[in-house]
Subunit: 137 residues, 6 copies
Amino acid sequence: MATVALLDDEAAGADARAVFDEIRAARGTDYVNNFWRALAHDPTLLRATWDRLKDVMAPGALDPLVKEMIYVAVSTANGCSYCVHSHTAAAKTKGLTDAQHGELLAVIGMAMQTNGLVTALQVPVDAAFDAEARGAG
Amino acid sequence: MATVALLDDEAAGADARAVFDEIRAARGTDYVNNFWRALAHDPTLLRATWDRLKDVMAPGALDPLVKEMIYVAVSTANGCSYCVHSHTAAAKTKGLTDAQHGELLAVIGMAMQTNGLVTALQVPVDAAFDAEARGAG
Amino acid sequence: MATVALLDDEAAGADARAVFDEIRAARGTDYVNNFWRALAHDPTLLRATWDRLKDVMAPGALDPLVKEMIYVAVSTANGCSYCVHSHTAAAKTKGLTDAQHGELLAVIGMAMQTNGLVTALQVPVDAAFDAEARGAG
Amino acid sequence: MATVALLDDEAAGADARAVFDEIRAARGTDYVNNFWRALAHDPTLLRATWDRLKDVMAPGALDPLVKEMIYVAVSTANGCSYCVHSHTAAAKTKGLTDAQHGELLAVIGMAMQTNGLVTALQVPVDAAFDAEARGAG
Amino acid sequence: MATVALLDDEAAGADARAVFDEIRAARGTDYVNNFWRALAHDPTLLRATWDRLKDVMAPGALDPLVKEMIYVAVSTANGCSYCVHSHTAAAKTKGLTDAQHGELLAVIGMAMQTNGLVTALQVPVDAAFDAEARGAG
Amino acid sequence: MATVALLDDEAAGADARAVFDEIRAARGTDYVNNFWRALAHDPTLLRATWDRLKDVMAPGALDPLVKEMIYVAVSTANGCSYCVHSHTAAAKTKGLTDAQHGELLAVIGMAMQTNGLVTALQVPVDAAFDAEARGAG
């Protein structure tokens, strides 16, 4: 159940269909997942989101698989069920092994736990962690 | 300002001090950061947290720097200021470059954005993302 | 699947039914949605919630449609699926157009993104944003 | 730094001052904390919040100290620094011992961790947990 | 729909099955819920999670029922649907009455509300709440 | 205290300075706030964020003040202190009155409260809220 209808190729306008075709070409599959079909009601938002996502997730200083794991971590902390599913699936496509998945889960769990402890204790930030004082980037 | 006093070595009990010493040895520094000093009121919790953190963050199927980036990602989505500071500092110690930091930020920002779009649209999970149906791990 | 049974008019007590009837009258429909049926186990909580909701969402300095969009924004950031569905539906009933819905989504996505960037960067608040210093309300 | 000025007794209007006085009487202290002074710009909101808080936190089926611990737990998961500080202080006033504080922290940390694991794994809810099927309240 | 298959006793390895058997013994039931079956892909994570959960939720300075309510509170603020279901069910098993459930809900709702007000107002923490200044634990 | 140094005009590179100048021109002030100075370490991210923000917050189907209130609502639910400060200040610049501010706070508080109640109750979504079934956009 969504808050908008998911648009198939026919229902989507020409601008949205053009993005669908770019997604198909970039991923080497005919399948366009529901997120893009929901965004298709607003072709400007669809276009801006796809263009930016493509750039951000491209290989660079970080490995694409690392980027997917970071995506899963954020989506988990935000409780976004769809995002956890789609980016875990993407990570597997990009080579996530079972051992890596297990360690990803362990780090997420550990981070959630210490986040809670730190917040409940209201630990003040150590001066040693101050990037500005270090003059560093 | 914290919800408990931060215990220095003298104020901490013997059990807490033993953990402080393990932290010093593991990190090759005399400095023990505020998180551990706040936890020292409950030596059992301090011990359990340190033992588990040490295991989880050790090199394994994932690189220690990758683990720190995942930690930063979770802490950011949870809005834990101390955790963002301490694990960004830890990532820099483990070799995070400015270019990697920039990409980490970009992925976190992108994930936050699409998390919001997906949730506002309530996009239903594609059957293609179902691990159980794939019988996969 | 809920953590309590949803009470129909018969199962609900007289106090809860009285609230159901006020909801029907206020909305001009016989339909009482699941939220109220779940709250009906605790008529005091049901009454307090309905009375306050009615006041808060009434026309005032802000337009009722604007209030519904703010409600959707909070519910999205909190990841409350039911709330996103119910208040998006309410916004449509109050006149939300497709173009407005698209812009609402874009603002939510942008806010989520910059929230993440700001938190990962731990940007200190500019003195210029200090209401107390301005002596302003 | 706040988004509104904190109103002292003189700056607050008569309606806000009346609430301040009720807070003083209820707590047996002359001190009115910042939260109420920030809310005082909108006496209706101040009144509604204080009236409801007083009812909700009163002794009932749950002990007032238990209620404060639940409040700390929610505030921690929401990352509300002020709320963690004020309700931890309130819990101490109501008798929270150091041992109880330690266990509260441990439960919060554990819950945060398993919340993360469950969400990253997207574990489907067991039919056994369905209150509706049990016909239970 | 999960991101991993749920392992039954046969599919789980010997180490995971040993944890399953401890869960059965501790709870006096043959039923092992989905969370543990999802974790069984990583027996080390399964073991660490179960061992710690057992310790943390054991009777101590806080009553087991109080601990379950704190767990529900954290899980609610994190929006973890599975966790809310499983720990509400556990709380009922440990004696949560309908009246207590109603008050738990009311406190959670109140805390969520004031968390939002405090954060939107950016109320600065009162010096009176400073545990360090009080030299207190 | 930030995780990166805030770059003044001199320290920022030419690409970042070009964005600073666009911000100055668009806002009719010489002041560039800390967020942009922190992003300036990564001119690509700075450029992408500014370009998109400018488009999204421009007048359109929604009023700019309404957009700022939605931004404050999201930032509040995410607990982003800087964002709440900066967008509350922006909203005041765009005409937010004290009465509107009070109602914004009341709606945010109400939404937070019912989000918590709905999640703790795990209320199933009413079929009546299904946009797909309605064939609606």
